[in-house]
C-alpha cells in the first residue's frame, strides 16, 4: 500500500515534467518580444525578415525601468535562416508569443508566400493567431512611419483591425483563416492591404481595401468599394453608409446608414447554368440629407427603391468584375460542393450568374413624417 502511494506520488511529480515539454523557463525581462514580422524578398530570391520588437531595460541614467522599440533585420535563403540570423544581432532571446501581425510585402506576396507557411504553421514559437496583411509600397517608409507614429507596429495593427471589425471597407484575416482556406479546392483568399497614406497632415499607415491571394500568390487588389460589396455578399457587414441623390434638391445627397444586414445564400442549377442567389435584408436609417428633406411616404418609397437598386448594382458589378478575373472570392465552388456535390462542371464561376434580392427596411427616428 505504501509502495503504491510512493509510486503514485512519483508519477504525479513526473507528469508536469512531461506536460511542460513545449515550454522552457524564461524570465520575462530576459527576453525581447516580437510584435510583428515583415517578410520581404530581394530580386535574387533572398529572403529578408524585419522583426519589430520591444525590449525592456533599466536606464542607468534615470534609474528607471523602460522599454525601447528595436527593429531587427535578418537575411537568408530561407525564412527560418533569416530569423535565426536575427538572433546573431540580438543580445537577448526573441520571443514570438506577443507577435500580432504577419506582413508580406507586395514583392514577397507576388513571388508566393507558401515558402513562409511551413515556418509559421510548424514552428512551436510562432503562432497562427496573428492577422496577416499585404503591404504595398516602400518597406523603408513603413518602418519609418510606424516608428514615428506608433510605439509597436503589431499592437497598432491589432487595434486597427479590432476597431474596424464592423467597418464595411475593411478586411480582416488572420493566418489561421488562411491556412484553413488553402486546403479548399479554390483557395482565393482576401487579406487586408496596408498602404502609406500621404496628405497635408503627414504620413499614416492605412488599412486600404484588400489583396487577393490565389495559389499563395498575390493576384489582384480590391478597392474599398469592392470590399463593401464583398462584405455584404458574405454577410460580414454590420454598419456602413450609402449615398443616393436627394429628389427634393438637385445638388444634394441623402446618406443612408446601414443598421444591420442579414444575407441568405443559395445556389441553384438551371440548364447547366448556376444561379447564385443572395437575399439581402438591409435595415437602414436616414443619417443625413443635404439641403432639405421633408419625410413622407413618397420619399420613403423612393429611398427604399434607390437603396435597393444601388445595392444590387454594386453587388452585381463587383461579382462580375472578379468573375472575369476567375477569382472565386464569393465561394461559389464551396456552395456548389455543399449543395450539389455530384454536379461536375468546368469553370463553375464562369457559368454562374448572381441574383440579388434586396429588401430594405427603413427604421429609426428619421421615419417621423412631415419634418425637415
Amino acid at each position: 500500500m505504501k509502495v503504491n502511494k510512493i509510486i503514485i506520488a512519483i508519477m504525479l511529480l513526473l507528469t508536469p515534467a512531461l506536460l511542460s515539454g513545449c515550454f522552457n523557463y524564461n524570465d520575462i525581462n530576459k527576453l525581447t518580444f516580437v510584435t510583428s514580422i515583415i517578410f520581404d524578398e530581394e530580386d535574387s530570391d533572398k529572403i529578408i525578415v524585419y522583426v519589430d520588437c520591444i525590449k525592456p531595460y533599466r536606464s542607468s541614467d534615470e534609474g528607471e525601468e523602460k522599454a525601447r522599440r528595436i527593429m531587427y533585420k535578418g537575411e537568408g535563403k530561407t525564412a527560418i535562416e533569416a530569423l535565426k540570423n536575427v538572433n546573431l544581432i540580438s543580445s537577448t532571446r526573441l520571443n514570438y508569443s506577443q507577435n500580432r501581425a504577419y506582413i508580406f510585402t507586395e514583392k514577397a506576396a507576388k513571388s508566393g508566400i507558401e515558402k513562409y507557411l511551413s515556418l509559421i504553421n510548424n514552428n512551436q514559437q510562432l503562432s497562427i493567431k496573428p492577422d496577416m496583411f499585404i503591404y504595398s509600397g516602400d518597406i523603408s517608409k513603413l518602418l519609418e512611419v510606424s516608428s514615428k507614429d506608433e510605439e509597436y507596429l503589431g499592437q497598432f495593427l491589432e487595434e486597427l483591425i479590432n476597431r474596424n471589425k464592423t467597418n464595411p471597407k475593411a478586411v480582416s484575416a488572420n493566418m489561421n483563416d488562411y491556412l484553413s482556406k488553402v486546403i479548399e479546392e479554390d483557395d482565393s483568399f482576401i487579406v487586408g492591404s496596408l498602404k502609406i497614406k500621404e496628405d497635408e497632415i503627414g504620413e499614416k499607415i492605412e488599412l486600404s481595401g484588400g489583396a487577393i491571394l490565389k495559389d499563395h500568390k498575390l493576384v489582384s487588389n480590391m478597392n474599398p468599394e469592392d470590399v463593401i460589396s464583398y462584405n455584404v455578399l458574405l454577410n460580414n457587414i454590420k454598419d456602413g453608409i450609402l449615398e443616393i441623390a436627394n429628389p427634393q434638391n438637385d445638388n444634394g445627397l441623402i446618406t443612408v446608414e446601414i443598421l444591420g444586414t442579414n444575407v441568405e445564400s443559395n445556389i441553384e442549377i438551371e440548364d447547366e447554368k448556376i444561379k447564385l442567389i443572395k437575399n439581402v435584408d438591409l435595415k437602414v436609417t436616414i443619417a443625413e440629407a443635404q439641403s432639405e428633406l421633408i419625410v413622407n411616404d413618397e420619399i420613403l418609397d423612393y429611398i427604399k427603391e434607390e437603396t435597393e437598386n444601388l445595392m444590387k448594382d454594386y453587388l452585381v458589378s463587383t461579382f462580375d468584375k472578379f468573375k472575369k478575373e476567375e477569382l472565386d472570392i464569393f465561394e461559389v465552388k464551396r456552395l456548389l460542393n455543399i449543395n450539389y456535390p455530384k454536379f461536375d462542371i468546368e469553370s463553375p464561376l464562369l457559368n454562374t450568374n448572381l441574383e440579388v434580392n434586396v429588401k430594405v427596411i427603413i427604421d429609426g427616428s428619421s421615419l417621423i413624417k412631415d419634418i425637415l
Partner: protein
C-alpha cells in the same frame, strides 16, 4: 510517619506553603494551604475561627457519625468540602488551591474549597473580534469557562466529564458534549484520546489537539475558539469540546475545512451580507494560495496568455531585477512573512504601525534597489493581505503557497496544477475525529452540521432543539 509529616516532607522547600496550627476542643488541628492560591480571609473567618470556637462537639442524632463528619456538618462554614482519599489526593487539593485540615490522632483529612488565586476577568477575545454578537471570551480558569457554557445551554443533557492529565502538572481537562446529540463513537474516541495522554505536563489545549490529530499536515483538523457562544453552537451541532485548565482556548472536534471560512459573527449579521463575506473569503483563499504560483507560472512559461499591454508592463517592471522570478517571489514572500511575524509579536500599539511602515518602506526600497519588481510586490502584498480574511488557514496557506510557487517555477501551469492536485489529495485524506476533513464531501457519516458553504436561514441552522430524553427534534 503520620500524614502531616508526609505532606510536610513532600512539600518541603516551598516558602509559600503555610501550616497553621489551631487548638480546638477536640485536639490540635493543622491547616495546610498555599498562600497565594487560597482566599486567606475565608480561611480565617470560616475555618480558623469556627475551629477555635469549638468548645464541645454539638450533639447529633446520628451517633454513628465520626467526629470529622460532625465538624464538616456543623462547624466549618465552607460551602464545598469533603474528605481526601489519601495523601496524594490531599496534596492535589493543596496544589489546586484548597486548604486541608488535619487533626492530631485522626487519620482522615478534610479539604475545603477556598480558592483565591488571581484570575483574568472575562474579557473580549482578541483573536476573534466580532462586529455584532456576544463579546465574552473564555479565560484561563476551567470552572469559569464551564460556567460560561452552562449559562448558555441550560440543559440536563449538557455533560462535562473531568479528567486529570499530566504526572507533574495534574491539569484538569473537561470533555463536554450534549448527550443525545453527540455521536457515542465520537465521545468515546475523544475520551480514549484524552485518557491515553501520557504527559508530564499539559499547559494548553494544543497538547490534546496533537493527540486528536493523527496525520501529518499543515491543516488544523481540530477547531479552537475563545468564544463560549461558538463552543455552544458546536456542541449543539453534536460535536465534542475539550476544555483545559490554564488556557482560554477550547477545542472542538470534528472540525472541517469549510469552517475556516466561517466567522463567529456570521450568525449575528445579515444573512446576505454574511454570504457576500464568505464569497470574499473564498476569493481571498484563492488569492492567498494560488496567485503567487500562477504569477510565476505565467510570467516564466506561458507569456502568450497575458494581454500584450500588460505583458510589456510586466517585462519593463522586471527590467532591473537580477534574480529569477521564482527567487524574487520567494524573497518578497519571506519579507512579508517577517513583517507579519514582527507585527504579531510586537506590542499592539506599535505592531500595526510597524507593519504598515515596514511594508511601505521595504516595498519601495526593494523596488529602488532592484531586488524586486513593483508587480511582484503587488502580487505578494495582495496574497498576504488575503491571509487575514481567513486567519485560521494562515499556516497551511503560507506553506502551500511556497510549494505551489516551487511547482510552478519548475514546470509552469502543468506543475501548478500538479501542486494543486497534491494539495487536494492531502486535504481529501485528512480526517477529524473519524470524519472526513472535507465534510460533507466524501463522507456518508451524518452530523447535525447545517451550515455548509453558504449560510442558510437561522431557523434551519438552529433546528437541533433537544427534546425530553435527549432526542434530537430534527
Amino acid at each position: 510517619m503520620d500524614k502531616l509529616q508526609e505532606i510536610k516532607q513532600r512539600l518541603e522547600k516551598n516558602f509559600d506553603v503555610k501550616y497553621r496550627k489551631v487548638e480546638t476542643a477536640i485536639g490540635n488541628a493543622t491547616i495546610v494551604y498555599i498562600d497565594d492560591l487560597c482566599n486567606v480571609r475565608m480561611i480565617s473567618e470560616y475555618i480558623v475561627m469556627p475551629l477555635k470556637n469549638i468548645r464541645q462537639l454539638p450533639e447529633t442524632k446520628n451517633q454513628d457519625k465520626s467526629i470529622l463528619d460532625q465538624i464538616m456538618e456543623n462547624v466549618l462554614d465552607i460551602n464545598a468540602l469533603g474528605l481526601c482519599d489519601d495523601v496524594d489526593d490531599a496534596l492535589w487539593h493543596i496544589l489546586s488551591g484548597d486548604p486541608i485540615v488535619i487533626f492530631e490522632g485522626i487519620e482522615d483529612i478534610i479539604f475545603l474549597e477556598a480558592k483565591g488565586f488571581p484570575v483574568r476577568s472575562v474579557g473580549t477575545p482578541e483573536t476573534e473580534a466580532v462586529l455584532k454578537g456576544p463579546k465574552e471570551g473564555f479565560n484561563e480558569l476551567i470552572v469559569n469557562n464551564i460556567a460560561l457554557i452552562r449559562r448558555r445551554i441550560k440543559s440536563t443533557d449538557l455533560k462535562f466529564e473531568i479528567a486529570v492529565v499530566g504526572d507533574k502538572s495534574n491539569t484538569s481537562v473537561a470533555i463536554c458534549y450534549i448527550n443525545g446529540l453527540a455521536p457515542e463513537a465520537l465521545i468515546r474516541n475523544v475520551k480514549e484520546k484524552v485518557a491515553e495522554l501520557d504527559l508530564s505536563f499539559i499547559l494548553d489545549t494544543n497538547y490534546v489537539e496533537d493527540a486528536l490529530k493523527n496525520q501529518i499536515s499543515f491543516f488544523d483538523t481540530v477547531g479552537y475558539t475563545e468564544k463560549p457562544d461558538e463552543v455552544c453552537a458546536k456542541l449543539l451541532e453534536g460535536r465534542v469540546g475539550v476544555i483545559v485548565d490554564g488556557t482560554p482556548f477550547v477545542i472542538t472536534v470534528p472540525y472541517f475545512f469549510l469552517e475556516n471560512f466561517q466567522m463567529p459573527d456570521d450568525y449575528y449579521l445579515n444573512k446576505y451580507f454574511t454570504n457576500f463575506n464568505r464569497v470574499l473569503r473564498w476569493i481571498a483563499f484563492f488569492l492567498a494560495v494560488f496567485v503567487p504560483a500562477l504569477y510565476v507560472a505565467v510570467t516564466t512559461y506561458h507569456f502568450s496568455i497575458i494581454p500584450s499591454i500588460f505583458m510589456f508592463r510586466l517585462a519593463v517592471s522586471r527590467a532591473g531585477v537580477p534574480f529569477p522570478t521564482f527567487l524574487e517571489v520567494l524573497i518578497v514572500m519571506l519579507a512579508f512573512q517577517l513583517i507579519k511575524e514582527a507585527g504579531l509579536r510586537l506590542p499592539k500599539p506599535i505592531g500595526g504601525a510597524m507593519s504598515i511602515v515596514s511594508g511601505l518602506i521595504l516595498g519601495e526600497s526593494a523596488v529602488a534597489a532592484g531586488i524586486a519588481s513593483r508587480i511582484t510586490i503587488v502580487i505578494i502584498a495582495l496574497s498576504s493581505l488575503a491571509y487575514f480574511l481567513i486567519p485560521k488557514l494562515y499556516g497551511p496557506l503560507s506553506f502551500w503557497a511556497i510549494v505551489l510557487v516551487g511547482f510552478s517555477s519548475a514546470f509552469g501551469i502543468p506543475g501548478f496544477l500538479s501542486g494543486v492536485l497534491l494539495m487536494l489529495i492531502q486535504l481529501s485524506q485528512l480526517d477529524s475525529a473519524g470524519y472526513q476533513f472535507l465534510f460533507p464531501i466524501g463522507s456518508t457519516k451524518e452530523l447535525k452540521f447545517r451550515d455548509i458553504a453558504f449560510r442558510g436561514s437561522l431557523s434551519k441552522i438552529s433546528k437541533n432543539v433537544i427534546k425530553e430524553g435527549g432526542k434530537d427534534e430534527s
